[in-house]
């Protein structure tokens, strides 16, 4: 089956957008027109140039090419977005699997803990954590992941509760297969698919949250290019020098949009297959 | 009052849910519309109400209600002259609105009376359907009422529209037998007291026997037989009517197995050339592959190749 048919036209388009951003991020030193400026070297003589043939997206207050900055910013944003989801999944999945499989008081206690985390507005907890840990990409990832893992834990637990009573799992148990083996061989593979789709859907929101933190000055610090921080830096010059804040803002929006539409498309194919 | 000749309903231009329904319902009577599920009874009712689903095409030789052509202006009669008593009253009432509010919405759609007067009207209507404590019912949510009470509320709603023609779609199917009998008695009484006319859609010959003056037998969206109930029950002409009657518990001698029909109704996609019932008919003949003639006898008619005496 062709990709377009599986994902639909919007889904395929969004997959392309994601791939383009990912390639740009990986190959930044080669595709960025002014790689040095992308990393942060100032170029004062050319400050606040409007978009032109030389600078497609204009230049910022230090004369750096916005396109190069946005391309380098994709490195940070892509990595944070994906890593936030990955780390959350890495914490949430085992916790949810174990709680769901073994049940009892451990399950009860774990549910109440997630209750507390979920009772906290997520962004607020992330801000609190990030403020405590200090700025930086790793701290930003940890801060957001701490607020996100309960969602995956709950999702994994719900999957396990269903899968645990499937005939083939029952059969494995009766044949004396050990619980760790049942979890790893029979339950985990089946639970991965819905969790994977959810994870894909969540990269967009993860990216938005991370960019919000960096807008607040809790993300990557300059001179490293980072979209949220660039929007904040360009804000005083908006709307007169609109390109400064708009370029990174549109980049965040596009990537978040692409991930969310792609996730929806993936979920739809999952439903069709089921 | 209602005259239907050759009614046809096609959905998405290939699903023939109603193929050729003839109906003639005189004022002040209860007319049964009987057949297995999927034979187009409910769709016929919806066509009369003007509530066919999207993509449905409607055709008829004659389709009139007291001279008004329903082919064009059905929506104007729905809820004015014609109202529906829906099957499964639990589903037909809005679960999150109190009965009073649901009655009132109907009343204010159809009159300009002030709110307190409407409340009195609603209570009177509920009382007319035999509900003992109308005020309590008006303040209740549907799930707080029993099935029989819910069905009475649904009937009261239909009366609240001021309609004099009710389409009762399986009004007793969701109820247990004794409550169902009470509801049927109520409908009978309403016909006598208020001069209503009722089209009773049912799959149950007992219901027809109990309350209907006349009845039409539908098979695969075609009226195969129509006539006064008594004649229909005593001397059915069409083999399908006979089969339906044979399925009645008290119609068969003790010990005899239920005469279940082999096969199934032709699907709506199938184009029917001859007699629709022929593939399942115990008396089918080669000639049944051609369209059956319309035979009449007094106030009744049927569509069959068999002569009356053979039948």
């Amino acid at each position: 089956m062709s990709l377009v048919k599986r994902l639909g036209l919007p889904g395929t388009l969004c997959l392309c957008v994601v791939v383009v951003f990912a390639l740009a991020a990986m190959l930044a030193p080669f595709v960025a027109p002014y790689a040095a400026q992308g990393i942060g070297t100032p170029n004062i003589s050319a400050k606040f140039q409007p978009p032109s043939a030389a600078y497609w997206l204009g230049t910022d207050h230090l004369g750096r090419d916005m396109l190069s900055r946005v391309i380098y910013g994709a490195r940070v944003s892509m990595t944070t977005g994906v890593l936030i989801v990955a780390v959350s999944l890495l914490i949430g999945l085992p916790v949810g699997l174990l709680a769901g499989y073994f049940g009892g008081w451990a399950d009860e206690g774990f549910m109440r803990i997630t209750d507390i985390f979920l009772a906290f507005p997520a962004l607020l907890l992330a801000v609190l954590m990030a403020a405590a840990l200090g700025a930086g990409m790793l701290n930003c990832i940890i801060s957001v992941a701490v607020t996100w893992w309960p969602w995956y834990a709950r999702l994994a637990r719900a999957e396990v509760l269903v899968l645990r009573n499937q005939p083939y799992v029952e059969a494995a148990r009766l044949m004396g297969v050990s619980p760790p083996r049942i979890l790893l061989r029979h339950i985990l593979p089946a639970a991965l698919r819905p969790l994977g789709v959810q994870a894909a859907l969540d990269v967009g929101p993860a990216l938005l949250t991370a960019s919000a933190l960096s807008f607040l000055g809790l993300g990557v610090l300059p001179p490293t290019a980072d979209w949220g921080q660039m929007v904040d830096a360009g804000r005083p010059f908006f709307p007169a020098r609109w390109w400064y804040a708009v370029s990174p803002g549109v980049a965040i929006f596009l990537l978040a949009l692409a991930f969310s539409v792609l996730g929806d498309a993936l979920r739809a194919t999952g439903r069709r297959d089921a | 009052m209602l005259e239907v000749r050759g009614l046809q309903v096609v959905i998405n231009s290939d699903l023939q849910v109603v193929r050729k329904v003839d109906l003639s319902v005189p004022k002040g009577t209860i007319h049964g519309l009987i057949g297995e599920s999927g034979c187009g009874k409910t769709m016929t009712g919806m066509a009369i109400l003007g509530l066919l689903p999207k993509g449905a095409g409607l055709q008829a030789g004659t389709f009139t209600f007291e001279g008004t052509d329903l082919l064009s202006g059905a929506a104007t009669l729905r809820g004015r002259r014609i109202a529906l008593v829906s099957q499964d009253p639990a589903a037909a009432l809005n679960p999150v609105l109190r009965v009073g509010r649901q009655m009132d919405d109907v009343l204010r759609t159809h009159s300009n009376v002030a709110k307190p007067a409407r409340r009195a009207q609603a209570a009177a209507l509920l009382a007319a359907t035999g509900l003992p404590d109308p005020d309590r019912v008006l303040n209740a949510y549907p799930h707080q009422l029993s099935g029989g009470m819910q069905q009475r509320v649904v009937i009261a709603q239909a009366l609240a529209t001021g309609a004099d023609f009710l389409i009762a779609d399986e009004p007793t199917t969701a109820l247990d037998v004794t409550v169902g009998a009470q509801v049927l008695a109520l409908l009978r009484r309403l016909v006598a007291q208020r001069g209503l006319t009722i089209l009773m859609i049912t799959h149950d010959m007992d219901v027809v026997a109990e309350v209907c003056d006349r009845a039409s037998v539908l098979y695969a969206g075609i009226t195969v037989e129509e006539g006064p109930t008594e004649a229909l029950l005593r001397a059915p002409r069409h083999p399908y009517t006979k089969a339906l009657l044979a399925a009645l518990p008290d119609a068969r001698p003790k010990g005899q197995r239920l005469a279940a029909l082999e096969g199934a109704i032709p699907p709506p996609r199938q184009i029917i050339q001859g007699c629709a019932f022929a593939p399942r008919c115990p008396m089918a003949m080669p000639v049944c592959a051609t369209p059956p003639p319309r035979r009449t006898e007094g106030e009744r008619f049927w569509l069959c190749h068999l002569e009356a005496r053979d039948a």
Binding site: L123, L128, F238 | L84, A91, V154
Partner: protein
């Protein structure tokens, strides 16, 4: 009484949640790498000053004891003093909290007002132009970074078109020259109480853009949820029955079908309120809204942890209270909820 038992259970659960959140805030405070005593001691701390600060802040007491002190202080609304300004945090909160709540409530209302009717119309005209347009804008609203939207709206409506005020809660003429007395801290209520309708209009004008910014995302969610709920409800038999009784299409949509969608609507209120409370951190910076969000963001920059903790706790309290109220409303509106 099933209803009373249900509500009691929710209440007990909420108490536990608040306790847990307090513990969480305290734990986070413990992992702060910087030394609170050093911050408290002032800009040029000497060893003696730091030692004194450690004593004032009870930093040398054992952990459980410090937690109990902390929890007790929070429970009595004694949030301590800001490390930076040395002002009592509870005094600051009394001014900033109403500002943020006003914004949150206003934007929640806006989200419902935009999202629910458009969801109803999208469901009624499924597949039509309005439905597609609504679906598209809800996707856009969900993917739009809050702070970027705030900036764009401000740029277009204030700086470019000059239609609405740039920032703040109210114009100078009503705050400095001829101030409206502070009663509740809710600008709309205070101006109305003082019968100053020009001031009321001005306060409203200041609310529109930040409110709209915070309403965009929940409105998108509201539209999606309402649409899918309505599509399912419109298939139900009682809707067909209502049509057969001759009720008008508008009454069927808004009077009969929509009340069945109360569940999603309440979900949206909770979500929107939470979103506004936390999004306030971002939006208040852009619109210079003197609320909790700006207070926190300033505290973040100066590592003023007591302020951050107090604000986080207060916001969570509002959030938990809101959810509790929503649970109650849900149980009252749909009497079947409490039975399950």
């Amino acid at each position: 009484m099933a209803l009373a038992r249900y509500l009691l259970r929710r209440l007990v659960l909420s108490v536990f949640v608040v306790l847990g959140v307090t513990m969480l805030v305290f734990t986070v405070a413990q992992v702060v790498p910087s030394d609170p005593a050093a911050l408290y001691a002032g800009p040029r701390p000497t060893a003696a000053l730091i030692a004194k600060a450690r004593e004032t802040l009870h930093l040398d007491a054992p952990l459980p004891e410090r937690f109990l002190t902390f929890a007790h202080a929070m429970a009595t609304a004694d949030f301590g003093v800001s490390y930076k300004s040395r002002r009592a945090i509870s005094q600051d909160l009394a001014v900033y909290l109403p500002a943020t709540l006003e914004l949150a409530i206003f934007s929640t209302g806006l989200a419902l007002l935009i999202g629910i009717p458009s969801g109803v119309i999208a469901a009624a005209r499924r597949g039509g132009l309005l439905d597609r347009l609504g679906g598209l804008s809800s996707i856009v609203a969900v993917a739009m970074p809050t702070f970027f939207l705030a900036m764009l709206l401000q740029g277009v409506f204030c700086q470019w078109l000059g239609l609405l005020p740039l920032s703040g809660r109210i114009g100078k003429e009503f705050s400095v020259i001829d101030p409206v007395p502070f009663v509740t801290g809710f600008m709309l209520i205070d101006t109305a109480l003082a019968a100053r309708f020009d001031a009321f209009r001005d306060a409203m004008a200041h609310l529109i853009l930040p409110g709209l910014t915070l309403a965009a995302y929940p409105a998108g969610v509201a539209m999606r949820l309402t649409r899918s709920a309505m599509i399912e409800i419109l298939e139900r038999r009682h809707i067909l029955a209502a049509r057969a009784l001759g009720l008008s299409e508008a009454r069927i949509l808004f009077g009969h079908a929509l009340p069945n969608a109360v569940g999603p609507a309440l979900t949206v209120i909770g979500l929107s309120f939470a979103y506004a409370l936390t999004g306030a951190v971002l939006v208040e910076i852009v619109f210079a809204w003197p609320g909790l969000g700006r207070y926190v963001s300033e505290a973040i920059l100066s590592k003023d942890f007591p302020v951050i903790a107090a604000a986080a706790l207060v916001v969570t309290l509002c959030y938990v209270a809101m959810n509790l109220i929503l649970d109650m409303v849900q149980a009252l509106v749909d009497p079947r909820v409490a039975l399950t």
